[in-house]
Every structure is written in C-alpha cells, then in structure tokens.
Amino acid sequence: MSNWPLFVSQLFNGLVLGALLALISSGLTIIYGTLGVLNLAHGAMFMLGGYAGYVAYTYTESFIVAVIAGSLFVMVAGVAMERIIIRRFYGRPDEDQLLVTFGLGICFVEVVRLFFGSLSLTVPPPTIFSGITSLGFMFYPTYRLALLGIIAAALLVLFLVLYRTRLGLIVRAGIEDSVMVSSLGIDVYRVFMVVFGIGAMAAGFAGIVNAPVVSLTPDMGEAILVQTFVVVVIGGVGSFPGAIIGGLIAGEIISITSMINPGYAYIMLFAAMTLVLLLRPHGLLGAQGRG
C-alpha cells in the first residue's frame, strides 16, 4: 500500500457509509424478522423521511425539528400502512407481500413527485456541523463526522429497545416463533404494528439525517434499497446485529474497492454477497428461522 493516508481515509469513509446502510437495513430486517414481510417500500420510506424533514425545515429552519418531524411522519405512515394494508397480507404468500409493498413504494414516489417535482432539494446541515474538519490524515466534512455519532446513537437506542425491554423480548420471541408468543396470550398483531412503526421510523430517520449529505429526489430510495438488501443478506435476515455487521462490511467494500478501481465497487459488493450465501446460506449472523 503506497498511499496510507488515502487508505485510512477510505477506511474511515467506509465506516460512515456503512453506518448509514446499517441503520436503514436494521429497520428492514426487524420488520422481516418479526412480521415475515419483505418491505419493498422501505427505500421509499427512507425518501419520505427526507422530504417530510425538508418540509419541516422550510417552515422552522431548525434541523432538530426536521429530524423529529421526518422520523415521526414516516413512523405514522408506516403504522397506517400496516393497519390499512399490510396486516391483510400476513397470511398470504410471499409474492403477494412483495407486490403490494413494491406497489406502495411506487405510489409514495409518485405522490412525492407530484407535489415536489423532480428537481433536487437540499437541507443544509446545522451550522455547528457545516464546514470541513482536519483529521490529520485527511480533511472530512464535519457533518459526516457528526452523522457517524448520530447514527451510532440511534442504533444504540434501537439495540436497547430490542434487547433491554419487554417489547424487545416479545419481538425477539416473535422472530423465533410467533405462534407460541400468540398462544401465551400476547396480542401479536399489536406488537406487529409497533414493530412496523419502529422499522419505518428507522428508515425515515435515516432519510432526514442523510439529507444534508445528498440532495433529495423522489427516486433516492431506489438505489439505496438494493444496497440495503445486500446488507441484510450478508448480515443474516432478521438479525439486528447482522444488519450492523453487514452494513459496515458493505460500506468498507464500496470504499476500499473505489480506491483501487471505482468501476468494480458495486460488483464487489454483489460478489461478497454471493460468497456469503455460498458459505453461510443464512448470512453471517442469520438464524435458521424463517425460510
């Protein structure tokens, strides 16, 4: 390695990219793990979080209000989606669930396009995080540094909810055996609604905290959705720690490959996924569980 500063820079950037992927993927994997629904509208919910936050920002000019509004809006949208549509599909074949979530995703994108058009929109980072920070070996946008902390905190909160609360216990038990949980007298469907809301909120939160890094377009969820699925497959479907590990691995693969030959970054990502599937069909941390 002839260029250590660049290598370290890319390693670090991979961490930031990976953290974002981990956050989005965690929502996807929690919903799948608990409800057995592969939510193809997850990318669109990431996008909705960005736009809802943008609207809040234009009225209040407060980034914190934008983050709260973006997250809550998508949580409410997620709960509504679960109550009105998704719950009717729990017992149906996987193909039906895929089609309905896929269709909902398209609807969300087109509604946003109708109201906002396709021209990209921007949400600036909070003033204290604007500018560039010198890390010694490189210069890095301050907000991306802050983003690492913000996402780490969000993932910690999710972890505590899942592993240190009664709700988390039920959710994890539901992943293992939802029939047994139900027969213990727990209203599984209510839990399902809450889980869907939390999963959606994770996507919405990711959408708005990521908004200052990218510019918002109605299609922004599409590319990220594919990457998110790769992360979930690598980490193991339904596994929260798996989503985090998978996200970080994906981020590093993209960054390190980009340093050597940018054209191969996404090919390497899929190659890694294939390798994992060959060696561990259930992903790195995936349980036998559903399948």
């Binding site: 260029n3 500063p5 660049l6 820079s9 890319q10 950037n13 991979g14 930031v16 990219l17 592969l38 193809l40 996987d94 193909e95 895929l98 896929f102 398209i106 994108v109 396009r113 396709s118 021209l119 990209s120 921007t122 560039i132 490189m138 210069f139 890095y140 946008p141 907000y143 991306r144 890094v213 990218v214 510019s215 377009t217 109605p218 299609d219 922004m220 599409e222 590319a223 990220i224 959705l225 594919v226 990457q227 699925f229 497959v233 479907v237 993209i254 960054s255 980009s258 340093m259 940018p262 054209g263 970054a265 996404y266 599937l277 069909p281 259930h282 559903r290 399948g291």
Partner: protein
C-alpha cells in the same frame, strides 16, 4: 430463503421493465395483423410502419424519455420541447413555418400526435416502449434518449424496424459515430464537439501542463466525452492523474471524491450528468475539493446551476443552447417567448434540442412530400442549409449528424445575475464546421435504406 431474495432482487432492479414488459408482450401479439397491408406501387413497397402509419388523418410520434431516475429533470424538459413542437406543427405556428415553410396546419395536412413512455434512461425499457409504439400506434418517428445508451439502442431498433429515429439528448460520440445508422439522426452537440469547442477556452484560461482528475459515468456517453477531453487537451500538456468511473445513479460520491482530493489535480473535469452531476458537485464542495481545484463541466447539464444553488459560479461548460442567445438570434427569441408562455420559464437545452429536432424533421417531410422513410432520409441527405435557433445548419449525409454551433458558457456569480434564470454568461459561440470531426472518424457505416 435464498429463493425469496433472488425474486426480491429481480423485482427491485427492474420494476418498470416488468410492467412495461407485459405491455410490450400485448403489443407483440398484435403485430402480425398490423403488418398485413394492401400492396402498393412497386417503387414504394411497404416498409416499417409505412404506409399504415400515415394512411389516416393523423400520424403518431413515439417518445421514450426518462421521467424517473437520475435524468428525470432533463427528461421532463425534453418532453416539453416535443409537446410544444407538436402543438406548433398542428397549428401551423409562425415559428414552425420558419423551419418548414411549406407547412400549413399539420404535417402534409395530417394532425401529429405524441405518445410518451418513461424509459428511466434504461435502454431495454426504451426499446420495449418503442417496440410497442411501432406495433400499436404505427409511429412514423421515434424520439427520446437523455442517455446515449438509450440513443444507441434506439438507433439499432430504428434500423431493424425501418422507422426513423431522431435522438433526444445524446452526448456520446458513438451515436452518429461507431453506432450510426441510416434511420437515425442527431441534431445536438456531443462529446467530441463539446471537447473541441471548450478545450481552447480552458487552455487559454488555466494554462498549459495541468494535472486533471476526471469523474466519468460508466457508459458510452461518459467514456467518449472523457476520451475526447483527454485528446483535445493532450497537446497543451494536460495529463490525467485519476479517472473516477461510477455507475449511473450512484447514491454517494464520497469514495470517488476522496480519491480526487488525494490525486493532486489542478482541475476536476466532471462528466457526470443529471442528478449524478448535482450530487457529485455538491459533495465535491462538502469535501473541500472545489476549494482546491477548478471545476469544469464539459457537457453542460440543464438545470445544474439552479439545482446546485450557485456552485456553477465561474465554471465553464459547453452547451447546445442558452436562452440569452435571443439577443442575437430572432428565432431563439420567438422560441423562448412561446416556451415561456406555455411553461413559465426559459427553456434549457433539452427543450431546445427536442423542438429543433422535430422542426427539422417536419421540414424534411414537407420537402419530401411523403412520409415514405427512404424519401425522407434522402431529403436529409441532400445536406441542404436549413434553419436552427442559432442560424443556419446542415445535416451531413455521411453520418446524419447536424453540423451546428456549440456554445461555451461560464457560471455567473449570484450578485451579477439580472434575474433568477440568468445563471450563465455566454463566453463564445463556436461554429460547427471548425470543431466537428471527419464523418468517418469514429467508424460510421450507415447501412441500407430498405
């Protein structure tokens, strides 16, 4: 489990192709009936959609344009240009008559209709849509692109199906170069002409022996524009220190920009287009790259200045059209006025390219006096001088490329803008003859008429 995820990916990657595929299948089933036509005189045997497409009181044009994805903004602008041109053809508008003096109301007295499909800038979806338009609507002309990968694919379809194709926005040298066809035409500028026009300006501005970092989208447009820029600046001693190739619609450019920041380049030449250009330039600013090196956008992106919120200040770009040319060209003024009246803003070059392509096609059809494709092609191939919004131009018979001026613009500082659409100063209008390569430079072989 694995199986579910495989289905998953297929669905995620090609949601629109799935939907359009089924529509295309229905179209395909209808094809055999549509091709049975009464025999016509031997000198004009049935070919492509002729004579079925022009037998009634109207003719149809099929447009496959990105309305979603990274090129959606530019696609919408193109669509507006086509819509306005169709409206002007049907009403016999004064501006359209400047292009096609024989035109009355409608083309050869027939009303022109436009059918539109979303291509998402993906070649397979564009081809499926046009295939459907050919079989269902018997289109007499195809248009669309905003991605040269689409333009090249539609070129091939046009030649195979014997239906005329005028490219929309398409910057690859290959469109009328290596992949040229008898049935395809291009009005707009492209990588090689952009590079030939802008390189002398850049060398004069920044000097000789510069280190350059490129950002290139990974398809025919990106690679040919980058290659042309490298060729045109080589003699001045400009060297490429890094070339960051990225996929269309990349969600983040940070990894590429770290490489650029680390490359020691003096100049960043960003060939990305559409939202990719917006995102990569905004992130270049975030990473401090724009403070370290000069930015050049050789192939200008409509709405880029607006979308990046002023990051184009001082940046040079080559373009087909910028609305302030109206001070010099009366037809441009008429076009801007019509466009602004209908859509509320000054047209960018996507709309200009669309409008002019249709107007020039209308000219050829009126001159030929028929929609019979070989006759229309031969009228184009006379290479006669015809109008554009930037003065007289002509199509070359050898490769079907319009020889036309390229405009060099430079982004204005916010304080110098006279109104909220006054984003650029025009640096130079470079005549086409001096900058266009020889017709066979990229290996064009046109193919047959029938």
């Amino acid at each position: 489990m694995k199986k579910i995820f495989e289905q998953e990916f297929n669905a995620a990657v090609s949601r629109r192709s799935l939907l359009q595929g089924s529509a295309g299948l229905i179209g395909g089933l209808m094809l055999p009936g549509g091709l049975i036509m009464p025999a016509f005189a031997d000198d004009k045997p049935a070919i492509g959609t002729w004579p079925a497409g022009s037998a009634g009181s109207s003719v149809t044009i099929g447009a496959a344009v990105p309305r979603t994805g990274t090129y959606a903004v530019q696609g919408e602008d193109e669509l507006k240009g086509w819509e306005l041109a169709v409206e002007h053809i049907n009403s016999g508008h004064e501006l359209m008559k400047k292009f096609a003096p024989k035109l009355k109301k409608g083309l050869l007295g027939k009303e022109v209709k436009l059918v539109v499909a979303d291509s998402g800038a993906k070649p397979n979806e564009a081809v499926q849509a046009e295939q459907r338009f050919i079989s269902e609507n018997k289109v007499v002309l195809m248009t669309g692109s905003t991605s040269s990968a689409v333009a090249v694919a539609l070129n091939k379809l046009a030649q195979r199906e014997h239906v005329l194709y005028v490219a929309g926005i398409s910057g690859s040298n290959d469109t009328t170069g290596k992949d040229c066809v008898r049935y395809g035409f291009r009005q707009g500028f492209y990588g090689q002409t952009a590079a030939a026009a802008i390189a002398p300006v850049l060398i004069k501005q920044f000097g000789k022996n510069k280190k350059v970092a490129y950002m290139t989208p990974d398809y025919t447009y990106g690679h040919t524009v980058t290659k042309s820029m490298q060729d045109m600046t080589k003699d001045a001693g400009w060297t490429t220190v890094t070339n960051q190739v990225s996929p269309l619609g990349a969600p983040d450019y940070s990894s590429y920009l770290l490489n650029v920041a680390n490359s020691g380049a003096d100049i960043l030449i960003n060939v990305n287009w559409g939202h990719d250009a917006v995102l990569s330039i905004q992130q270049a600013k975030q990473f401090g790259v724009l403070d370290k090196m000069k930015l050049v956008v050789p192939y200008q992106v409509p709405f880029l200045a607006r979308e990046t919120g002023g990051l184009m200040t001082g940046v040079y770009a080559a373009t087909d059209y910028w609305w302030t040319v109206e001070d010099k060209y009366p037809l441009a003024k008429m076009f801007n006025e019509s466009f602004k009246k209908k859509y509320g803003y000054n047209p960018e070059w996507g709309a200009e390219n669309s409008y002019v392509s249709f107007a020039q096609w209308a000219h050829m059809v009126e001159e030929a006096g028929t929609f019979y494709p070989p006759d229309v092609i031969k009228t184009y191939e006379k290479g006669e001088t015809i109008p554009s919004l930037l003065g007289d131009v002509h199509y070359r018979p050898e490769d079907h490329q319009c020889v036309r001026p390229v405009i060099i613009v430079k982004g204005k500082a916010k304080k110098d803008m006279k109104n909220d659409e006054d984003w650029y100063d025009i640096v130079e209008i470079v005549p086409g003859e001096g900058i266009i390569q020889k017709p066979d430079a990229f290996g064009c072989k046109l193919g047959d008429y029938t």
